[in-house]
C-alpha cells in the first residue's frame, strides 16, 4: 500500500483507493451482519460446533479404550479343572464344580509389585460352546491360560492339540499375540505327565496338524509360550492350599 501511494501513477493510485474501499466496505458489511444478527443464532452456532468437537473427542476416547486388553482367559477341554482353578485364583477357596455352560468373570489382582488387576474369565470347555465363547472374548485377551488335564493327557492328546491349534491359528489371536500359558493341571494325581513331556507330545502332534512336514517348536511362535505345572486340588482334597504358585508367578509377569 505504501509503495502504491508513493508511486506517482495516477491510475495505480485510483486502483489502490478502489481496493481499499472495497476491503473497507467488506469489513463494514461483515461487522454489520454480525451485529445485526440475533445473538441467539450466534450462540447456537457456537454451541453446535462445540458439541461436534466434544463428540469427536469422546468417540476417539471410547474407540481407543476398547482395544485395551485386560482379560485373562481360562480355556481348555471339558473336565480339565478350569472352574476350580478360577475359584482358587480369585478367592483361594475350594468349591465343588459342575460342567460350566456359561462364562464366569471376576477381577484378579496379580501378585507382583505393580499389582495390576486383570479380569479373569473362565470359559466353558464343552465342544459345542467353546467356539462361541472364544469368539466373544478373544479380542479382549491379554493372556490365555490353556488348562490341560495331565493325568489323562495321553488319551486326549489329539483333542488337546486340535483345540490349541485352532486357538493359535485364529486371526485375531495372531494379530494381538497374547501370552500363552499352558497349565498342566491335576499334578496331584500320581500318573500325571510333566510339563516337558506334554510340550514334546504337543509339538509332535502339531507336525501332523500343520501338514508342513517340518518339526514344530513352540518357540517358533510370535507370542510368548510358557508351560507350567499346577494342581488346583491339593493332596488333602478340600482343605489345604492348592499348588498354583507357578501360575501366579507367571500371571504376575504379564
Amino acid at each position: 500500500m505504501d509503495e502504491r501511494s508513493v508511486g506517482g501513477d495516477m491510475g495505480g493510485k485510483e486502483d489502490a483507493k478502489m481496493l481499499e474501499n472495497t476491503v473497507k466496505q467488506f469489513i463494514e458489511y461483515v461487522r454489520k451482519q454480525v451485529e445485526e444478527q440475533d445473538p441467539v443464532f450466534l450462540i447456537s452456532v457456537v454451541v453446535a460446533l462445540a458439541a461436534i468437537i466434544i463428540t469427536c473427542v469422546f468417540l476417539k476416547y471410547f474407540l481407543t479404550s476398547k482395544t485395551v486388553r485386560s482379560a485373562v482367559l481360562l480355556v481348555g477341554l471339558c473336565d480339565s479343572g478350569k472352574t476350580l482353578l478360577f475359584s482358587r485364583l480369585v478367592s483361594g477357596k475350594f468349591k465343588r464344580t459342575q460342567t460350566s455352560i456359561t462364562d464366569s468373570s471376576a477381577p484378579y489382582k496379580a501378585k507382583s509389585d505393580k499389582g495390576t488387576t486383570w479380569t479373569l474369565i473362565d470359559l466353558p470347555g464343552h465342544d459345542s460352546l467353546r467356539a462361541q465363547y472364544l469368539e466373544k472374548f478373544k479380542s479382549a485377551a491379554r493372556a490365555i491360560v490353556f488348562v490341560v488335564d495331565s493325568a489323562i493327557f495321553q488319551k486326549e492328546v489329539r483333542d488337546v492339540a486340535e483345540f490349541l491349534y485352532v486357538l493359535l491359528t485364529d486371526s485375531v489371536i495372531c494379530r494381538n499375540t497374547p501370552t500363552l500359558l499352558v497349565a498342566c493341571n491335576k499334578q496331584d494325581i500320581t500318573m500325571a505327565k510333566s510339563a516337558k513331556l506334554i510340550q514334546q507330545q504337543l509339538e509332535k502332534e502339531f507336525v501332523f496338524l500343520g501338514k508342513k512336514g517340518k518339526d514344530f517348536e513352540f518357540s517358533q511362535l510370535p507370542m510368548r509360550v510358557e508351560f507350567l505345572e499346577c494342581s488346583a486340588l491339593s493332596n488333602k482334597a478340600e482343605e489345604g492350599e492348592a499348588d498354583i504358585k507357578s501360575l501366579e508367578k507367571s500371571l504376575a509377569k504379564l
Binding site: D79, T83, F86, S87, V90, S91, K93, K95, R96, T97, Q98, T99, S100, I101, T102, D103, S104, S105, A106, P107, D122, P124, H126, D127, S128, L129, A131, Q132, R158, D159, E162, F208, L209
Partner: protein, 596 residues
C-alpha cells in the same frame, strides 16, 4: 428318600449340596451327564432325566443363572418331587435375594450358602403332604354321580347315543324325552382343554340344544386361549383350531332344519401384558421386565411354524421351542430389547450349538493314527434307498486320494443291479485321475468285490483282512440301501457292523427328507443297538447330508438329523461330481434357517 440335591450356577460353581444318608457315590458324574445330554443338546422340554439307576429332575432359574437338580432312585416313584423343587427354588431365592442380585462369580465364591435347615424343613413338609394325600377313600354310592341319574336316561335305544358323556368323539345324536333333572347334570362344565362334545343331549328339545351350544361357543371363545392343560404332554396341547371350527354349534349336525344365526363373537379379552395403565409398555422398553411363558408363547409359535416351513421335522421344532422357552423363562431382558428379538437370539444360539460337533471331527488325523498302528481305517456307509451312498463314497475316496492315502472299496451292496459295476467305473476313473506311476507303482484305489447274492458281512470281513495284508490306509464299505422298517435287512446291517467293528459308521441322508428323517435315524440306531452282542453297541457316528444343492434355504433336515442322534454332520454333498464335497458351516446354515 432323595439321593442328592444340588444348587449350582450356570458358570459351574456349586452353591449348596445335600447328599442323602447312605449314599456314597458322588453326584458330580450324573449331574454332568444331565448337563451334557439335556441342557446342552436342547432337550430341556421335559424336566426329568434317567442316568443308570438314578432319576434326575431339574429346574432352571434363568434370572439368577442357577440350576436346581434333585436325584433319586429310579425304582421309587416320588410324587412330591416337582412341587418340592419349586418350593426349594422359591425359598432359596427369597432367602438369598440380596446376594444373588449382585450377580458375579465373586459373589458366589465369597458367600457360603447355609441352606440346610430350610431344606430339611421343606423336605419334611413335602414328604408329609404326599403321605396325607395318598389316603383317599372310595366314595359311597350315594355320593356318586350315577345315583343322581334317573333310570330312563341310562336306557340305550337303537341308533341312539349312550347315557354318558363322550370325551372328544363326534357321533350323531338323536333327540330324546328330557327327564327333569337333566339340565342340572348337563350344565356341569366340561373338563378344560379337552375337545368334549356334549353328547349328553338326551332328550333336550331342539331349541334347548341350540341354546346350550350357543353358550358353549361363547364360553370357548372367551376362555379358549387360557385353557391349556399344563400337565399333559406337549403333543396333546396342540389343539388344532380346525377341529374347533367343526365342533362349533349351529353346523349341520344338530340343527339341520333351523338356520342358526350365531351371536356376534364377543370382544376379545383385554390384554393382560400391559400391567396397569400406560406405564406397562414403558416398562417393556426400559428393561427389568422378566420374561414369562405367556409373553414368549406367540413368538415361539411363529418361530416353530417358520422352522417347520424350512423343513425341520415337526416334533423336533416343537421340542426345540419348548427347550428355548425353558431357558428363557424368568430371564430379565436388557434395555430396548423386545421379546421377539430375545427369543430369536436365543433360538439362533441354540441352533448353532446343536450344529456344533460334540467331539473332534478330523478324519484325516484319525486315518494317520490308524496308519501308525498298521491297520486300515474302516468307514461304513448306511442309509435308505437312493440317498447317494455310492456317489458320496466315490467323492470321499477322491478326497482321501487327494490327501495321499490309498483306498480299498468293499462292494458289500450285493443286491442292487449294477452296484458293483458302478463302483468299478468309479475305481477306473479315480485311477485315471491319479495314475499309479505317480504314487509309487501301486494303484491308489482298488475294488474288492465278490459279485452278487453273497453275504455282505462276510465280504466286508474279507475286504478288511485283504486291506491289512496289502497295507491299504482306508477301507470304504458300501452297503445296500434299505428301508428302516424292513426288519431282516436291518438285522443284516446290524450284523455287518457288529461283526466288523468299523472305525466310523456314517449314515447317509438326503437333505430333501422332512419328518421321515426322525423315523429313519431312530430306527437305524435302534436296530444297531438291539442286534449288537456287546455292552457298548456301535451306533451311528456321523451323518453325511447329501443333495444339499437341491434345497435353496430349506435346510431344516440338518437340524433334525443332528438333534435326533447328537452326532455331527461330517460331510455335505453338494452335487454329483467328485469335487462336490464340503463340510458343514454351522453359522451359514443357521443364517439360512432364520432368514425370513
Amino acid at each position: 428318600m432323595l439321593d442328592f440335591f444340588t444348587i449350582f450356577s450356570k458358570g459351574g460353581i456349586v452353591l449348596w449340596c445335600f447328599q442323602g444318608a447312605g449314599v456314597k457315590e458322588s453326584f458330580t458324574g450324573p449331574v454332568n451327564a444331565l448337563i451334557r445330554s439335556v441342557i446342552l443338546q436342547e432337550r430341556s422340554g421335559s424336566n426329568s432325566f434317567t442316568h443308570e439307576r438314578q432319576s434326575l429332575k431339574y429346574k432352571l432359574d434363568n434370572e439368577f443363572e442357577l440350576i436346581f437338580v434333585v436325584g433319586f432312585q429310579n425304582i421309587l416313584t416320588l410324587t412330591y418331587v416337582d412341587k418340592f423343587i419349586d418350593d426349594v427354588q422359591l425359598r432359596f431365592r427369597d432367602r438369598y435375594k440380596n446376594e444373588l442380585v449382585q450377580k458375579g462369580a465373586l459373589m458366589l465364591l465369597n458367600n457360603s450358602f447355609e441352606f440346610e435347615d430350610d431344606f430339611q424343613r421343606i423336605l419334611r413338609e413335602a414328604e408329609e403332604s404326599s403321605r396325607t394325600r395318598s389316603t383317599t377313600y372310595m366314595r359311597a354310592f350315594q355320593e356318586s354321580e350315577k345315583s343322581k341319574k334317573t333310570v330312563k336316561s341310562m336306557i340305550e335305544t337303537k341308533g341312539g347315543d349312550k347315557g354318558k358323556e363322550q370325551g372328544g368323539k363326534k357321533s350323531k345324536s338323536s333327540k330324546k324325552e328330557p327327564p327333569a333333572p337333566e339340565p342340572a347334570k348337563v350344565e356341569k362344565p366340561s373338563p378344560p382343554g379337552q375337545k368334549t362334545l356334549q353328547n349328553g343331549n338326551q332328550g333336550l328339545t331342539q331349541e334347548e340344544i341350540i341354546q346350550k351350544k350357543r353358550e358353549e361357543f361363547i364360553r370357548k371363545h372367551t376362555a379358549g386361549p387360557t385353557e391349556k392343560p399344563s400337565g399333559q404332554r406337549n403333543k396333546q396341547t396342540k389343539v388344532f383350531p380346525v377341529f374347533d371350527c367343526l365342533c362349533m354349534p349351529g353346523f349341520s349336525f344338530y340343527a339341520n332344519k333351523h338356520l342358526v344365526c350365531l351371536p356376534p363373537p364377543p370382544p376379545p379379552p383385554p390384554k393382560k401384558g400391559g400391567g396397569g395403565g400406560g406405564c406397562g409398555w414403558v416398562k417393556g422398553w426400559v428393561g427389568s421386565k422378566s420374561l414369562s411363558q405367556e409373553d414368549m408363547e406367540p413368538v415361539l409359535e411363529k418361530m416353530k411354524e417358520h422352522l417347520i416351513a424350512k423343513n425341520v421335522a415337526a416334533e423336533i421344532a416343537s421340542q426345540l421351542c419348548d427347550s428355548v422357552a425353558k431357558k428363557l423363562e424368568g430371564k430379565v431382558m436388557g434395555t430396548f430389547t423386545t421379546v421377539a428379538s430375545t427369543v430369536k437370539q436365543a433360538l439362533q444360539d441354540s441352533l448353532v450349538q446343536i450344529l456344533q460337533p460334540k467331539r473332534r471331527v478330523d478324519i484325516l488325523r484319525d486315518v494317520m493314527e490308524a496308519q501308525s498302528q498298521r491297520r486300515p481305517f474302516v468307514i461304513t456307509f448306511c442309509g435308505v434307498n437312493g440317498v447317494g451312498k455310492s456317489t458320496n463314497l466315490a467323492k470321499i475316496s477322491y478326497w482321501l486320494i487327494e490327501n495321499g492315502f490309498t483306498v480299498l472299496i468293499a462292494a458289500c451292496d450285493t443286491f442292487r443291479a449294477g452296484a458293483v459295476e458302478q463302483l468299478r467305473t468309479h475305481q477306473r476313473r479315480l485311477n485315471a485321475l491319479h495314475p499309479p506311476e505317480k504314487h509309487g507303482g501301486q494303484p491308489v484305489v482298488q475294488l474288492y468285490e465278490k459279485g452278487y447274492g453273497k453275504d455282505a458281512a462276510g465280504i466286508a470281513m474279507e475286504a478288511i483282512a485283504y486291506a491289512r495284508n496289502q497295507a491299504f490306509d482306508v477301507v470304504l464299505v458300501d452297503t445296500a440301501g434299505r428301508m428302516q422298517d424292513n426288519a431282516p435287512l436291518m438285522t443284516a446291517l446290524a450284523k455287518l457292523i457288529a461283526v466288523n467293528m468299523p472305525d466310523l459308521v456314517l449314515f447317509v441322508g438326503e437333505a430333501l427328507v422332512g419328518n421321515e428323517a426322525v423315523d429313519q435315524l431312530v430306527k437305524f440306531n435302534q436296530a444297531l443297538a438291539d442286534h449288537s452282542m456287546s455292552e457298548k453297541p456301535r451306533l451311528i457316528d456321523g451323518i453325511v447330508l447329501t443333495k444339499f444343492d437341491t434345497i435353496d434355504d430349506k435346510v431344516g433336515a440338518a437340524i433334525s438329523m443332528t438333534y435326533i442322534t447328537g452326532q455331527p454332520i461330517v460331510f455335505v454333498g453338494t452335487g454329483q461330481t467328485y469335487n462336490d464335497l464340503r463340510s458343514l458351516n454351522a453359522r451359514a446354515v443357521v443364517g439360512a434357517l432364520m432368514k425370513a
